[in-house]
């Protein structure tokens, strides 16, 4: 069964077409990359998938269910989790709380039993706590459990954001530039980390990344966006040698130079 299917989705902001007829099918277990120059519309694709924007045209299906126009929290409950290009942690809350909030959507106890700490809730809360602790151990952030999330160094904040997304038990994980701001050593670790979570948590990964080394190494399949248009799709080697892609990137480089 196809996990995610976008059928020529288009997103317009006024006169600007940020994403034009974007088409994708992702199968369970894949690691798919989305690349493209700045402003190409990559984050907008994520925002459409996660319900922050509703596509102006056409629809998105998750596990063959139409999720177009659903609210972000509904989509999260269905099994899509994400991280943000500009990290969005709950800065003043502890590292542990950040992860525990990720488990809230699975809470079965109602408000009343939570306030009065009825046995059912206490049991559930303990389970959520244990689960979150385990998760922190797996991502090697356990020793920071009590610290404020905002006080972590940048690389660890990125990792925490991934851990928080994993706490929602997603089937599809969207990572928006996970290597941004990381040094080469950290980026290398990130590649292993993403593979590891894919295997361990059985999630499918769809990621945006500017760091070509990371993308080429980790992705099994890559899509290239330029000015909202998908200009190429294929295996890393195919993308590397695609003249269109080279032109898109070189164009940007020339402008930047």
């Amino acid at each position: 069964m196809t996990l995610l299917k976008a059928d020529n989705i288009t997103m317009r902001f006024g006169g600007l077409t940020a994403v034009d007829s974007f088409k994708i099918e992702i199968e369970p277990g894949e690691i798919v990359g989305l690349i493209g120059p700045n402003g190409a519309g990559k984050t907008t694709v994520f925002n459409m998938i996660t319900g922050i924007y509703t596509p102006t045209e056409n629809r998105i299906y998750f596990q063959e269910e139409d999720i177009t126009g659903l609210k972000p929290d509904r989509i999260a409950k269905m099994g899509i989790a994400r991280t943000f290009q500009n990290i969005r942690l709950l800065d003043n809350l502890s590292v542990l709380d950040n992860v525990m909030i990720g488990t809230h959507l699975h809470l079965k106890s109602n408000l009343f039993s939570a306030i009065f700490r009825l046995p059912g809730y206490v049991k559930e809360e303990n389970e959520l706590y244990e689960k979150s602790r385990q998760l922190l151990k797996k991502v090697e952030l356990d020793e920071y459990a009590g610290e404020k999330a905002g006080s972590l160094p940048y690389g660890k904040q990125r990792k925490l954001e991934i851990a928080r997304a994993l706490a929602t038990e997603p089937r599809l994980l969207l990572l928006d530039e996970p290597a941004a701001g990381m040094n080469p050593q950290e980026s290398k670790e990130l590649v292993d980390f993403i593979r590891q979570i894919r295997d361990e948590f059985e999630v499918t990964v769809f990621l945006i990344e500017h760091d070509m080394k990371v993308v080429m190494e980790i992705c099994e399949r890559i899509l290239v966006l330029d000015y909202g248009v998908t200009i190429a799709e294929g295996k890393p080697e195919e993308i590397k040698n695609n003249p269109e892609v080279i032109k898109a990137y070189l164009g940007v480089d020339v402008v930047n130079a």
């Binding site: 929290d73 409950k77 709950l90 800065d91 003043n92 959507l105 809470l107 809360e125």
Partner: protein, 354 residues
């Protein structure tokens, strides 16, 4: 320290509080009792405002509106029918309110319930707004409540207000509800639902992306907050024995806001301390309004100087100590004993130094 031990300590503290309440209720004069009652009512109001503003991050300025609902409901339900007939001279009170008389606790809870229902109705559309816009909208709501109260004399007796409300409020009621409010809000915020509320405060987009239903959680927090505001209003009505629409102008919300900001947004402990401090100061600063002399400087009689003082204090807090008295720190038994032991450890050191 184990959870059991902490619960035991809390239980003991509750008994001590009950004994103190008993002593105060029986041996303090009315003047002092009134200050304590107001302090406890403000604790209820402040902690409930802190839930929506401090913990959920929703800038609500509608507290006076919910208090008015609670105050009028309670007053109308506890006044003896005979009194009502005497009070409603412009237009008679409508049926069945004119014949209804209910026990105080039932009236209070109904006041809270009506406030809560109203909170759901206005919260659903209004809580979509953010920041200042939400503040303005909720402020507008409170003002509408007041204007309506002014204009339906057949229910509220209009601008004349209600007089001769039975004074059932005493320290047992006010302390009881303050404790209940603290208990419920504390339990709520330390539960998974409370974490969700704080997630909304910290970052709405992130909260929603990890599955927090914004509407549900915001409206839930707003409703619980309004419930206790309604109770607070009811307690106030039966303490003061008279209410009229002017009692629920913006200044009422502002007073509670002062308590919350000075105590610390996001600190229940701070709010409770500030609630009592505020009312003590309000009373004991009374003389400064009657004119006094500071050395060569003589200050004439200035009504309202106390509020000026508080507003200045508020400014100072906002400018220099944004976290208020307590920041986000809460009283815990662990912290309490750590504090005590630090005190003990310090003493001999002082002796050595001398």
């Amino acid at each position: 320290m184990t959870r059991k031990k902490e619960q035991l300590l809390s239980f003991v503290a509750l008994i001590v509080l009950a004994i103190l309440t008993y002593l105060a209720q029986n041996y303090l004069d009315n003047y002092k009792l009134r200050i304590l009652n107001l302090g406890a009512i403000y604790a209820t109001l402040g902690v409930s405002l802190n839930l929506i503003f401090g913990f959920t991050g929703q800038f609500s300025l509608g507290h006076a509106g919910f208090m008015a609902i609670g105050a009028y409901t309670t007053a109308l339900l506890i006044m003896p029918p005979m009194y009502k007939e005497m009070t409603f001279i412009i237009e008679p009170l409508i049926w069945p309110l004119n014949v209804l008389q209910l026990p105080f606790i039932v009236a209070l809870l109904l006041g809270g319930l009506f406030a809560a229902i109203l909170a759901i109705l206005i919260g659903l559309p209004v809580l979509r707004l953010k920041g200042d816009y939400l503040g303005i909208a909720t402020l507008g709501f409170a003002e509408i409540v007041r204007v309506i109260a002014n204009n339906i004399p057949q229910v509220t007796n209009g601008a004349l207000g209600l007089k001769g409300i039975p004074q059932y409020t005493n320290l047992w009621w006010t302390m009881g509800f303050a404790v209940l409010t603290v208990f419920i809000v504390k339990r709520l915020i330390s539960s998974s639902y409370g974490r969700a509320l704080m997630a909304i405060r910290e970052n709405e987009i992130a909260a929603e992306a990890i599955g927090v239903n914004l509407t549900y959680h915001k409206v839930m927090s707003f409703t619980i907050s309004a419930f206790f505001a309604g109770i607070g209003g009811g307690l106030l009505a039966s303490l003061l024995t008279t209410i009229d629409p002017r009692a629920f102008m913006f200044i009422m919300t502002f007073n509670v806001l002062i308590v919350v900001v000075i105590g610390g947004l996001g600190s229940i402990t701070g709010t409770v301390i500030a609630a009592f401090l505020f009312n003590f100061c309000l009373e004991y600063l009374r003389p400064i309004e009657e004119g006094f002399s500071l050395g060569p400087l003589s200050i004439p009689e200035v009504p309202g100087l106390r509020m000026v003082t508080f507003s200045l204090l508020l400014l100072v807090v906002i400018l220099f100590k944004q976290n208020g008295l307590m920041g986000e720190i809460e009283f815990t038994w662990k912290g309490f004993f750590r504090f005590l032991s630090r005190f003990k450890a310090n003493r001999p050191m002082k002796g050595e130094g001398m």
